[in-house]
Structures are given as C-alpha cells and as structure tokens.
C-alpha cells in the first residue's frame, strides 16, 4: 500500500515516550517509523545490541517497547534474534502459537559495522526471516563518541581527536550497505528519516514483509556526537541525502534502485559545515580535507549510479 502520512498516523505507536534517549536524538525517530510499518495485528520480537537505544529504552523496570524485546550483549543482537526466530519456526510447527510474529534486530554502527559484524553476517547468511536495522550515528555514542568504522573521514571523535598532527579520523568509512548487498539477501536498503518519512516507512514495510533476511542501514544523527543544535535533526538528515553523503537506495534480489537522485547535488561541505565534529575542516589550510571527502562521496555516488544502471 502506498504511503500516506495521515493514514500512517492512525496506526498504533509501538515505542513509547519515557525512554532516556537524549533530547532530539535521531534514533527513536527511526525506530518509531520502522515499527509503524508493522501491521497492527502482527506481534514483534525486537532485539537490540547494547548501545544508546538499548540502555535508554529498557532501563529496569521500564520498557518503551510495546512488543516483546530482548537485549543480550553488544555484538550479538543478530544471533539473539535469529535464535528467537528459530524457536518461533519450531513452536509454530507444533501449533502452539497464534498469528504472525515479525523479528527485528537493532544495532548502532558500533554494534553492527564493528563488534557485531560477524553475528550479523552469520544470521543473514543463514536466512532467518528477520530484519536487521543498523541505526548509524557514525560513532560509539553510548560510551562517549569514540570512532567506529562508520565514522566519516576526518571526523573529530574522542578516540580520533582532531589534534595538531592528526586531523581527526584518518580512514574512510566502511560501506556496510554494500557489504550486506554482497550477502545476496532478498532485501537490502539504505534510508533516512526524510520529509514525511515515506522512504523510511516504505522500506521498512518491504523489509518486514519480504520473506527471509533483510538489512536496513538508517542514518540516525546524534546531536551530541555530531555537535549541532537539536532542532536541526531533520535538516541534517536532508543535507546528508541532498549531498549524496547518504544515498537512498535499495537492493532487491541483487537489483539496485537509487530511490532519490537530487536535481541539484549539494556540495558535501554543506553537510559538514552544519556539524561541530567537522569544524576543523574549515580552518585555513585544511581545504584538502573537504576536497578529499567530496572526492570520496563522488566516487561512491558514481559507483552506485552505475550499479543502478543510471550512470
């Protein structure tokens, strides 16, 4: 069914207020929208890696999750949910369960790109009927903004500080969406909370209701780690997409579709400038850093267009 903001609004909220995420955090916005894509009659078993989302949403004795929720450890959200899904298959065969249950595993970029990559890869390869969602805020925010392999090049983090000799994180970001696309899954996408949430909602719906393993990589800005004012969340999301720093695309059974091609691709500088973590890039003499980032964004964007047959 095509997305309609007003119709979607009537669906039940499945992630309540009363959680302890920071004011203005991008992650709960993403979570709410993904859960909204569930059919109201379906139950969900949701897992989360240790991280901001988990420690803030299930702090004893309060849970923000209206569905069943399990947290195990940092690196095993995918394996944990895969076990729950296997139990579901077995118990369903015995006829002891009614209705449909969907399985969703959440992890931040630390729990997904880094420490949880093996668990994710294994669960996806085994073909469990589940959705893995990475809410990517580009660093280990829960422990205090340490660099991850998802941190953009030159970003200033607490373990890749912009110092006198080393100007922030020296390495380019890992392209996890591509890594997952190469697992040849039925559904892989990259998305963000944009505008009226159409892209995020529709992709969530596809991921949830495609049989088999699905992977979603969703941008989730962090006002504290990225250093911008909380009201700017949706502007930051928009800039990430309009500059092609974070392209919106999906890979369905190996077929690439770029969901949004900006008419006026903005310079990545516009995205960087909005965030304090890139402040040092704008000092005189550091122009090369912005140029390098722009070159990397362009290279990846062109490659993506090529994969989608748009180049």
């Amino acid at each position: 069914m095509a997305y309609n903001l007003k119709e979607a609004a009537k669906k039940p909220e499945r992630f309540t207020g009363g959680h302890r995420m920071c004011a203005g955090c991008g992650a709960p916005v993403v979570v709410r929208q993904i859960l909204r894509a569930l059919k109201p009659e379906d139950h969900a078993v949701i897992g989360s890696a240790t991280g901001c989302l988990e420690v803030s949403s299930f702090l004893f004795p309060y849970t923000s999750w209206k569905d069943s929720f399990i947290h195990n450890a940092f690196e095993n959200s995918a394996a944990t949910v895969s076990g729950a899904e296997a139990a579901y298959v077995a118990m369903k065969k015995k006829g002891t369960l009614k209705g449909e249950t969907k399985f969703i595993a959440f992890g931040g970029d630390g729990g997904t790109y880094d420490i949880g990559l093996q668990s994710l890869s294994g669960a996806m390869e085994r073909g469990h009927d589940m959705v893995y969602v990475c809410y990517d805020n580009g660093a280990y925010m829960n422990t205090g903004i340490q660099r991850s392999s998802a941190t953009p090049q030159f970003a200033d983090t607490t373990t890749s500080p912009a110092g006198k000799k080393i100007p922030g994180k020296m390495q380019v970001r890992k392209d996890l969406t591509e890594v997952m696309a190469n697992h040849h899954l039925p559904y892989v996408c990259q998305t963000a909370a944009i505008g009226n949430m159409k892209d995020l909602y529709e992709k969530s719906e596809k991921a949830l209701y495609t049989k088999g393993p699905a992977f979603m990589n969703v941008l989730a800005p962090c006002p504290r780690g990225w250093r911008y004012n909380t009201p700017d969340l949706m502007d930051i999301n928009k800039l990430a997409v309009e500059t092609c720093f974070w392209p919106l695309y999906e890979v369905i059974d190996g077929e690439y579709t770029v969901n949004y091609i900006p008419k006026n691709k903005l310079p990545v500088k516009d995205f960087l400038k909005a965030q304090g973590r890139f402040k040092h890039l704008f000092k005189a003499g550091n122009e090369y850093m912005i140029e390098q980032i722009q070159a990397e964004v362009d290279k990846r964007w062109e490659a993506l267009l090529k994969l989608a047959g748009k180049a």
Binding site: L5, K6, E7, A8, A9, K10, E13, F15, T16, G17, G18, H19, R20, M21, C22, A23, G24, C25, G26, A27, P28, V29, R32, Q33, R36, S57, F58, F60, P61, Y62, T63, S64, W65, K66, D67, S68, F69, A193, G195, N196, M197, P223, N229, T230, P231, D232, L233, M234, D235
Partner: protein, 106 residues
Amino acid sequence: MSNNAAEKTKIQAGSCTWKEISEGGMIPYAGNAELFKTGDWRSMKPIWLQEKCKQCLLCYPVCPDTSILVDENGKRIEFDYDHCKGCGVCVKVCPFKAIDFVEEGK
C-alpha cells in the same frame, strides 16, 4: 496498561526486596516506560498554536519522544508534556510556524 501492571511497576521501581523483584529483570508490562516522566528534562518548551495549525501532520513522526499524539480522527492533539524533552525538532519542521518554542517556566 492495567492498573495492576502500573502498580507492580511502581513496586519494582521502588525499594522492593530481592524476593519481590522480577526474575532476571524481566518486565512483563510492555510499554510501561510511559509511566516514567521525562518532561522535567525540558529547558525549552514547544507550544502548539492551534489556530495556525493546518493539521499537515509533518510534526508527529519527527518527535523522538512520541509526544505529539494523533487522535482517532487523524488529528494531532496537545503535546504530551509528561514526556516531551523540548528538543525542538517539531518546531523546525512545521511549515506554518504553528509551534512556538519558549523557555520553560515562562
């Protein structure tokens, strides 16, 4: 959530003994975080200017705290100030300037 669940959550949140506490920290009251108020985190407060609001609904999904509620007719209603942390994301996305943003307590 039933009153019973709310009551039991209160017991768990308080000074319950090890004999009363739930096994392994399991909580059988899904969504009971609603009982936990985060409204006092606010230093800025969004004010809904009903007369300017066109009910475009762009504000409800951007709220990280599920604090812009939509009624059964699909209309947004007053803020849930029990949970709103005053981040101002809704203020910025409103195309009609129908949400004011003021200092808390003023």
